[in-house]
Homo-oligomer: 363 residues x 2
Amino acid sequence: MTMKEIALIQFGLGGVGRAVVERVLAAQDELEWRYGIRFAYVALCDSQGAAIEQQGFTYGDLMRTVTAKAEGASLADLDIGYDHEGLADIVDVAGTSNALVIDVTASDDTVEALQLALSRGYGAVLANKKPLTQTYETFLSLLKGGRVRYEATVGSGVPVIATLQQALIAAHDPIHRIEGCFSGTLGYLTTGLQAGEAFSALVRQARASGYTEPDPRDDLGGMDVARKALILARTMGWPLELPQIQVEGLFPDTMNQGTVPEFMQKTVDLDELYRQRVATAAGRDQVLRYVATIDRGRAQVGLQEVPRRSPLGQLQGTDNLIAFHTDVYADAPLVLQGRGAGVHGTAAGVMADLVALSTSFLI
Amino acid sequence: MTMKEIALIQFGLGGVGRAVVERVLAAQDELEWRYGIRFAYVALCDSQGAAIEQQGFTYGDLMRTVTAKAEGASLADLDIGYDHEGLADIVDVAGTSNALVIDVTASDDTVEALQLALSRGYGAVLANKKPLTQTYETFLSLLKGGRVRYEATVGSGVPVIATLQQALIAAHDPIHRIEGCFSGTLGYLTTGLQAGEAFSALVRQARASGYTEPDPRDDLGGMDVARKALILARTMGWPLELPQIQVEGLFPDTMNQGTVPEFMQKTVDLDELYRQRVATAAGRDQVLRYVATIDRGRAQVGLQEVPRRSPLGQLQGTDNLIAFHTDVYADAPLVLQGRGAGVHGTAAGVMADLVALSTSFLI
């Protein structure tokens, strides 16, 4: 078996970025014997600049870099090849078209660099939802060559995108409806509500456990779930834009004003509302879930009553779930369920995509 | 986009074979614009011989052939290019290495032809479990080039094999245990037992509904599930042989003697046994499922008690379910669930594999 040498350029060195680097290093020997591929990191970029080593970083340099970053250093502080140009200028350091760009940032500003990389013949793997949820035109420009994969954007490592693209679309099985829970945070909340806990207490606990962003409104507003729904809809070929998605947040718009402590205090005012909604649902043998629905050309996300005994109703805690209703899966949907958050699942999703691209068009 | 022309040779023209031909024909336009591939059937084989058309059969000829077969004709009866050589002699009719062989028989005798096809540079798609469950050496000889796919052998169109290979193995996520229900027939039986129905009545109903083979012992004995467990274990790299799998059937060995009517009569003797096992399990908040477990180098299949609220315990009716316990999916498994039988799901699984192979190594 001839060995494929593939250069990696990574945008983002936060928790997920570190987990990806560590997973690639740990897998190196297995990747060689199983697939005949060898990855060499040539650039690591954070928001301030890039560490570059055209011959490929050594194991020691990579570990030193991700460890220092995890301890709060900037790439600029480290004694490694360093450049502070923009991301687009980094792309050409690969010096070969046998290269993959990994975007594990949460930035809107990587699109130009990704498009440049694709124009150079590279592939790209995204855990970053932002480039795929700008205009539909941008989505198409990234996807058209079939060299961008983005498994980790929805459901973390759960193979949601692979199933949609390969088991359903490629199998010519028409998809009638997709519904799912794509937020571990909101899963934790709705399961807690069902168990009788107060909304305000659950938000407080979720924030204290690190399940939410520092400002929990970022999760409770539903936009992250809306982006995932948009990615699924566009993967099915629907030319939707983000503002066309109907998003119902878990708090009224007025609570968007004010500081986080003020917001936290006001959540108590919602306790009774949610207690009643849970009780009303229970009276109909239903439970509340924060559901994304992609159906008849539209996508919506919000709190919904679902039958207690349905796949969504049986979902517990922070797990994600997706149900595909198709011609083949007409009586009962095709369901995937699993941990949909956490750096290791996300890194596993990125890794699966790296291998898939490496074993397809790269030489 | 340049169009890839790919020759198809199909072994098997039963219900699944017909569904595959019809799905390929229905997908033709979409396959061309979406992937730039065009399939041309050059040979269709049944157990008596082959219909051959080196330039590719027309839509009309294909539909006429599968319809006549469905109405009970043999290929030999039809006025189309016909050959009665063995399968291996058919392989070279493709006249190009851009070819895929589809094995949708239930025969042990296709291995030689499959190996010949691979030696010619073709790919192969199997819904037939037999070639993959002969010796481990044969399994390796088929799999070693990465040009054989077999999604439909386990869980029909549910992407069990793709998830195992791509989302877990390629992602370098160590798999600790796999458990699942891979028989719609036995799912129907165990759900019925749980609902209080008698074993003998359920077997009678399953047979009358066509859920079982004409001799229901073929399903109730567990060998079909054992083959699926073996395929999963071998996909993980475990060098197991079929006799090493511990198989617990649903009836005592003594009932293997005698005719089908005699067997059906004796199932009444088992009613009380299963009534008791269901009751005992229920007392522990457990239910009975026919489970395949792949764990620590071993595989076993048999009736098991599982917690009522576990994914397997919540499974209803004929759906299949697989749960992967891995490093990433440690707290709760990665679960796939869906219709695991029926010609359309199987044909969809075959189709997904045809597209995957066509978009990878074929030119």
